[in-house]
Amino acid sequence: MKNKYAVYLKDRSIAGIKTLYANKVVLMFVALCTFGFLTTGKPASYTVVEVFSRFGRNTFLVLALIIPVLAGLGLNFGIVVGAMAAQVAIFWTVYWGFGGLKGLLICVLLATPIAILFGWMVGKLYNKTKGAEMITGLILAYFADGLYQFFFLFLIGGVIPVDNPSMIIAGGTGVKNTIDLTGNLKYTIDTISMLSVVRALAVIYCVVSLTLWVMNRKKNISLQTPLHMDRLLGSAIVFGLTFVPFVHDFMATDRLQLSKGVPVFAGLIGLLGLYRALVVKTKSEDDSFGMRNLTMAIIAAAVAAISFVPDIQKVLWAVHLPVMTYVLIATLCVFNSWLLSTKMGQDMRTAGQSRTVANAAGINVNRTRIIAMCMSTTLAAWGQIIYLQNLGTFATYGAHTMCGQYAIAALLVGGASVQQANNKQAILGVFLFHTLFVVAPLSASTVFGSALIGEYFRVFICYGVIALSLAMHAWKTKPQFGKDSNANTMLPRPLSLPAESSGIAE
């Protein structure tokens, strides 16, 4: 057993190193981030707190990009349009005076249909400009920005009667530059406590699995979803546990202090890994299952142990995570990978890889692309709501302008490319990009001794990152002419049989 485990570990580490080496883009940014981190001239806790708060704010938006990338729409700026939909919704929600969870709900309900409509229009446009989605999206974002400004600067107050001196420019036409969200939408998602999250999840799980079970019984389908009594019981126990005073106190705070959270969660994951490795393992035929879980347990234990090292504990102590925001991010990750396991997801991947093949296989490529686009704008709209409620102030004319660039840059840094992206790349990318974003100006000003240069670096980085990683990807995927004879025959070609039609076409 031990021997086998050593072999498994060796294989995994070699495979890991290989993938790392293949991802030169990521490696380079890791190196840049490490250098930046070490030269900030500020305590480590400052950087870590900044990065975590930016991570919570931005990840949802970046994850919204994955679906269209896989559907062959490229790294596109359609999410800017989605962000605008969210901002329109936020404006009206604030104007009507709703706040708190109710306000949030109204905001989401308002933003979703607008985002779907925008997504449908963008999708239509992209279907007409296949192959040039990136530039179309970029220009479209500028154009949409024009319409957006027209709406907020002229129509509101000018045509649509709006009366709210705190939001409208003194003359009565046009919305003010910033809208304060304090007291209405600020932190509405972030402050949902872990307690309510856990309770709600437990209840939802029970309800869903019961409904599924009942539905299957009624229809009497051969593929029945068995009712997992143990899991139902488990969620009931979890629900019950939340009333234990000790647990209740731990969970009732709206932010999770990382110094408490890390050991607790690492411990839970470690226990789960051990349980699987030792108990469930016997059921599984796959030999690596037990080993994988054992590794997971060991890593979890190591992480828990490290979190008690005084220096690190000090840093962790400073970080407070908004629980609900992170739950939403995790949900979106699950949603993305779930979608890919469905027929629709497969259609999207097919259409993304080759439109010719997809057409020949009877997939409605245009429709698939539009659906992907609508999903992306909707998710982007929700992402922008998360972003703005965390920020607390809403820059009416500026909040959406950079979100496309930042999201694309983050995804590219994570090792994604124009054709291919996944959850891991998005998450890694957000971490790296925003670390760079935080440390670059600081370290530039320590290294060059001027704060001005630091600010310049912040702007420079975003575009530099996009250009650099696109160039590195292009260099990596450059076909080696003459060496790979497959490459030519594998190129998608038109379905019509070319030999004879080409002469006739003239």
Partner: protein, 532 residues
């Protein structure tokens, strides 16, 4: 109901813009039969298949006339999906595979198996989860049927080219209710042993009662595997014959044979050709041009002759001139008039005295938006510095010289245009070709290579272009190499014709050799090659 034939196409006639490409063609295939569809390039095979599949290219250009029966019932097929529903499958010449997908995913593409879940109940079937296990089983079964021993979960990317064809076949077999499969030149990209296996797989499929239409140029494969065949020539139906009642020689004759239309009037020939006086010599010459690979040829061109290079599309004849010009990677020794040419250096061949007219007139040969005058002058300007005047700080285009020269060429070559400043894109195909020739001539080459000189131009213009080439040769003493898919054209002006098959010279023939010999050489028929 007559179910003797699984497919019966009768009286199929198709015109593209008044150009009749299929004329009263019949095709009938019995169940479980391997039926070859034979013909040269341009005989109408692909158009016939496009008709069968209801391709948009047919219906966007006015449809066709004739009837199609599948399993004895008259059907109308107006889109590829309809053809698929009727049980007609196609194994494409260019692979319809996605490299990043696994073998299973490629086989089940568009027909994935799914299981319902909670989301699919609410939002519809599209959100059903893929049933990966049962998809794998199906793929395994299809792969086993054709005897392909690869893991169904590996990605297609990185598999040998030969396997891809088999994956395509597995995909068609996996479709339920498949009655007829079309194989469009499946062996063109395969090695000999892979081709062997493919033919074996075809026999297995046919033995299950699925009919196969096999489009190929390789006569030996046709003789080996088919039961019957239909031969087309220039869009005409020639004959449907049983394979066992015919021979390779007869098939070749039927494919090529035609009344030789005279493209060139007899002229007095005062040239002296000698095997010692070589102007261009290729030794151990390879070109890596996708779809037209040259795999090692030795060829000598005599000073003053017209040499034809013929062969079917995709066999490598186009690679020869393109490699010399440096447009694709080439290897080997190229000696032009005693000077060796480096094919890695773009423009080297032009500098050393070659003139080239590309087969791809519209994208390689011409600057369509530019005037005739500029088109004629630009290569000479670049290579030789002609049509330029030096004004001390730099060189400028000498408009006067260029204009005079262009007008001269327009007169000489009889280019029909409004003026030398007319856009080339607005000219007809034949006149565009003349502009290309004029541009090559502006270099005063010692050797002129013309690739597909008459592609896409009408018969009258064809004759003019051929005459022009003959005149250049006879009067100016220019050596000319003509690369062409049209055998008739080569036979009317060339002194010798090299037939290229599978990247090698199959044989160098005289223009008055028999149709059957040409047919066999072009089809790369092996028995004959061994014999001679």
């Amino acid at each position: 109901m007559n179910s003797q034939y699984v497919l019966k196409m009768e009286g199929i006639t198709k015109e593209y813009f008044g150009n009749r490409v299929l004329n009263d063609v019949n095709l009938s295939v019995r169940p479980g039969e391997i039926h070859a569809l034979m013909g040269e390039n341009g005989a109408g095979k692909s158009t016939l298949m496009n008709v069968l599949f209801g391709m948009p290219v047919i219906h966007n250009t006015g449809g066709f006339s004739g009837t199609i029966e599948v399993g004895g019932e008259a059907v109308t097929i107006d889109n590829p999906q309809k053809a698929m529903e009727l049980g007609i499958g196609m194994v494409h010449q260019e692979f319809m595979l996605i490299p990043g997908f696994t073998v299973t995913e490629n086989i089940k593409i568009g027909r994935e198996k799914t299981t319902p879940g909670i989301a699919s109940r609410i939002f519809g079937k599209a959100l059903e989860r893929l049933d990966v296990d049962s998809m794998r089983k199906d793929a395994r079964k299809a792969l086993d049927t054709i005897g392909l021993d690869i893991e169904e979960y590996v990605k297609v990317k990185g598999l040998p080219v030969g396997y891809m064809q088999f994956i395509e076949i597995a995909r068609e077999i996996d479709k339920t209710g498949i009655k007829l499969m079309i194989f469009d030149e499946p062996t063109a990209v395969l090695t000999e042993s892979e081709a062997e296996r493919l033919l074996e797989a075809m026999r297995v499929i046919a033995s299950k009662g699925i009919a196969i239409v096999f489009i190929t140029h390789r006569l030996d494969e046709v003789i080996a595997v088919t039961d019957s065949m239909t031969i087309l020539r220039d869009g005409q139906f020639v004959k449907r014959i049983e394979t066992k009642e015919t021979s390779a020689v007869e098939i070749a004759e039927l494919m090529i044979g035609r009344k030789v239309e005279k493209l060139l009037d007899d002229t007095t020939d005062e040239r002296v050709l000698s095997d010692e006086n070589i102007i261009l010599s290729l030794k151990n010459y390879f070109v890596d041009m996708p779809g037209e690979r040259v795999k090692g040829i030795d060829l000598d061109v005599r000073r003053g002759e017209i040499l034809g290079i013929g062969g079917l599309a995709g066999q490598g004849k186009l690679g020869i001139p393109n490699g010399i010009m440096g447009l694709f990677d080439a290897e080997g020794t190229i000696v032009l008039d005693g000077v060796s040419i480096d094919p890695k250096k773009l423009g080297d061949a032009l500098k050393k005295g070659m003139g080239f007219v590309s087969e791809d007139r519209r994208s390689v040969g011409l600057l369509l938006e530019e005037s005739i005058e500029h088109n004629i002058a630009f290569t000479a300007m670049q290579i030789k510095g002609s049509f330029l005047k030096n004004i001390g700080v730099g060189k400028l285009y000498d408009a006067k010289k260029g204009r005079t020269h262009a007008e001269d060429m327009i007169r000489q070559l009889d280019i029909r245009c409004t003026s030398a400043s007319q856009q080339v894109g607005a000219l007809s195909g034949g006149n565009q070709q003349k502009v290309c020739l004029a541009r090559a001539l502006a270099l005063h080459p010692i050797l002129l290579v013309v690739s597909e000189p008459t592609r896409g131009i009408d018969i009258g213009a064809k004759k003019l272009v051929i005459e022009l080439l003959a005149n250049l040769n006879r009067r100016e003493g220019m050596t000319v190499i003509v690369v062409s898919s049209e055998l008739n054209e080569l036979r009317s002006i060339c002194d010798r014709i090299a037939i290229i098959s599978e990247g090698k010279i199959a044989s160098v023939m005289k223009p008055n050799d028999s149709d059957a010999d040409f047919g066999l050489a072009m089809a790369g028929y092996k028995e004959r090659r061994k014999g001679s």
